[in-house]
Symmetry: C2
Subunit: 206 residues, 2 copies
Amino acid sequence: MSEASGAGGRLTAKGRATRERIVAAAAQLMFERGVAGTSTEDVRAAAEVSTSQIYHYFRDKPALVRAVITHQTEQIMTAQQAFFARLDSMDGLRAWRDALVELQRSRQCAGGCPIGSLGSELADSDAAARAAVAAGFARWAEAIAAGLRAMRDRGELRAGADPDRLGLAVLTALQGGLLLTQIRRDTVALETGLDAMLELVESYLV
Amino acid sequence: MSEASGAGGRLTAKGRATRERIVAAAAQLMFERGVAGTSTEDVRAAAEVSTSQIYHYFRDKPALVRAVITHQTEQIMTAQQAFFARLDSMDGLRAWRDALVELQRSRQCAGGCPIGSLGSELADSDAAARAAVAAGFARWAEAIAAGLRAMRDRGELRAGADPDRLGLAVLTALQGGLLLTQIRRDTVALETGLDAMLELVESYLV
């Protein structure tokens, strides 16, 4: 990791807490305003740290952005962990779908996907950020595929069902649905896209 | 329209050409670098016009951005017109899918959707831009739905098939697929998402 300017891996508990406060503040601001709309000064003020503290933990803004992507990926995986564990049944898939729709409603349909939006903004200008978002998406697709694989291995899905392919297809509809939710300011496309994918999964039920 | 600073609707042929040159240059730059990464000076240089010419046609940068969104929507609708006319058959749907994948490959998987990327960047900060992208997406979803509606009306899809719902679901997978293409730098997710939706449409064949 080229992320820390020198303190990486040898932080005290207090140092880790300060670093985490900076990342959390930057993540919130970048979720609301994008990376281009978030200055180091904005982050400094929101995290209530000094500029030199930011540069102690992050060499430059791209290093901070990479830490934000990692942070947001962990947030997603942690927040959805209970749902991921149940994606091995149609009931579990529907409960997850409902939770995703409800989350967007609670955010007034703003913000889009916390890592997808960063990926859209940075993919063509920051190769390391692009790779970090791609890695986050790979974990997300695998979490979906794992549930479908369990269904297939228990003989609940026909042998022709390809969990990896279906997992990636569901993530694709989810990402498009989150983008369209942000743009339409309603959850209809998210619901419609996910329901269509769940209908396809259901068509593989034995 | 609040777009033109005063000349709107009363442009000479030369004025229309200059305005179009500005919009096309801005569209290309914003596709490559995003809106935040494109300055009025960048547009001025690329379009080979003066700053006062830009401000003659566009009151401010948001007005230019709205014109870019309209321009990109028209470009998409025109470029895909021949495919849209054939979305009333599985062969036509597959030809469209193949063309979308090939287009992304020809762009080295960069850029994402010309209006979706703008929507992701601007949705939470520019209400007029958000509405313009939403209107573009509505036209796109309707073009897909029209093909499916023709199939249903000819009795080729079961009566239970909902062309509006399926059209929106296909667009959702397409948008997620374009985003994932940009982030993964391969077209696997785009292919997988669209193929899953076409498989669902196929399941409605009589």
